[in-house]
Symmetry: C2
Subunit: 255 residues, 2 copies
DNA sequence: AACAACGTTTCATATTATGAACTTAACCCG
DNA sequence: CGGGTTAAGTTCATAATATGAAACGTTGTT
């Protein structure tokens, strides 16, 4: 290899991480050869990396299929990362209250690059599913939380972060800079963001910013649910509850 | 270094993982120098490993303190590991039902070495805290789920897995082989395990085994709560509910 | 102002990671 | 059956890469 690594002396570690990241929701299970091909690594190298990761339980092998999967140590590290996040810990009670008030799914998300990362999720009583998407990432420009978080960034930063063109998920996804900047401006004025079928048809979400002691947007809280239940008339009511929840969390952060 | 790694060509990767694992619940934040000392690594090496991990967002730096913490990519990987776990997905509905029936905290755990790893946790209405300890590990010999899982192992395996002496957490913790083997035998006969103040004073838990299509114990389900609420008379009632829940999950696994 | 402590960078060195080629095992399919 | 195909895992010579001692720069302290 003659390619220059981002930093010297980190090739194998970066490669090992790329192995870990290959295990996605869409492809949670890999065999050696396809994985090596996917990553463009030598089979022997990939095997050694997998073995090292397996010896530390970051990766395990499915007893039946013999294929590689993410292992128990990853679960433990993920739990630690969440528990170490004071934002999440502080928010949890308020988020639960919000989910109970609205009977819809409440989420807490932070910005990571061009994506909104789900730190916590409390299901309303309508759906019988608990915290299924903690750790998931959604395209920021197509979600209410994402737009709330983007609205706090200077335009220059936006241009660095967002891909051009912005990918479209439904006919209502915002894909032009013009439309996005207008929506973000409206979000700032309004104090909350609305994403109506921008990520998925039939899905509406309303998000509000969480501010730290300094007044900076550090996270977003949202309520999401089917457009069937979240009708236009309920929208302002829900928005008020989401904003109140976000404000309470902000106050707990010392605002 | 002249120490032989478990496998050749994996030193830096194993070291990088040891860096990740240094971030525990007790010590979620590290500075460079103490971390290098703790791990017995050179400061420059540790710095390079941290930089590599940070470049991939497995580690981040706290904006205020400048110290290192687990990063967003770990949260994402943890979420993927959980979602990829079909056992957890299959169990979730039943676990929620159990928590609702009993109004106490329901858990799903698997054995990992000498510890029980929490895959899912649904709080009853008494406690306002959601899935705080997913990914946590508890000493198997001192928990109901742990004893259920140990009860399925041949004695020889037990001796390999469990440390001698077994650490004690309360005056009721089982620490002798004799007592443990008797308890495990009783668990097998009874069909469920009870841990009364064995891990923590005031805490009672009742666990039952989840069996796969093959009849092998692959996980344990439990209800845990304060001895104040989980009185002796409620014990058999709770045990029946826990066993029924575990049996329903087992059936879903094809038993 | 001198010192101390810590994060970060440099660089010569050889240890360690690498990948081409090989071995082994399982599995088709004629 | 049995010869052929595929994929997992192993070996080993090579040099590229990780290593750590020492130097550097920055910040805070006495």
């Amino acid at each position: 290899m003659t390619t220059t690594s981002p930093y010297p002396g980190t090739q194998s570690v970066v490669r090992a991480i790329s192995v870990l990241k290959a295990f996605t929701d869409e492809h949670p299970e890999w065999s050696l050869t396809p994985l090596a091909q996917e990553l463009g690594l030598n089979k022997a190298t990939t095997f050694r990396l997998l073995t090292a990761l397996e010896s530390e339980s970051l990766i395990m092998r499915d007893p039946q299929s013999e294929k590689y999967r993410l292992g128990p140590a990853i679960v433990t590290l993920g739990g630690r990362a969440l528990r170490a996040n004071s934002l999440r810990v502080v928010s949890q009670g308020e988020l639960q209250a919000l989910a109970a008030e609205t009977n819809e799914t409440a989420s807490l998300e932070v910005l990571h690059g061009k994506e909104a990362l789900v730190l916590d999720e409390i299901a309303g009583n309508h759906v019988m599913t608990g915290s299924q998407s903690i750790g998931s990432r959604w395209p920021a420009h197509a979600t209410s939380t994402g737009k709330v978080l983007l609205a706090a960034l200077p335009e220059q930063r936006l241009r660095q972060v967002l891909p051009t063109p912005m990918p479209s998920y439904t006919p209502h996804t915002i894909t032009s800079w013009d439309a996005l900047l207008r929506d973000l401006a409206a979000t700032r004025v309004r104090g909350y963001a609305v994403a109506r079928e921008e990520l998925e048809i039939g899905l509406l979400a309303i998000g509000a910013p969480v501010l730290n002691h300094d007044g900076q947007t550090v996270a977003a809280v949202s309520i999401a649910g089917p457009t069937l239940r979240l009708t236009a008339q309920r929208e302002s009511e829900i928005a008020a509850l989401v904003c109140a929840c976000a404000a309470r969390i902000s106050r707990r952060l010392g605002l």
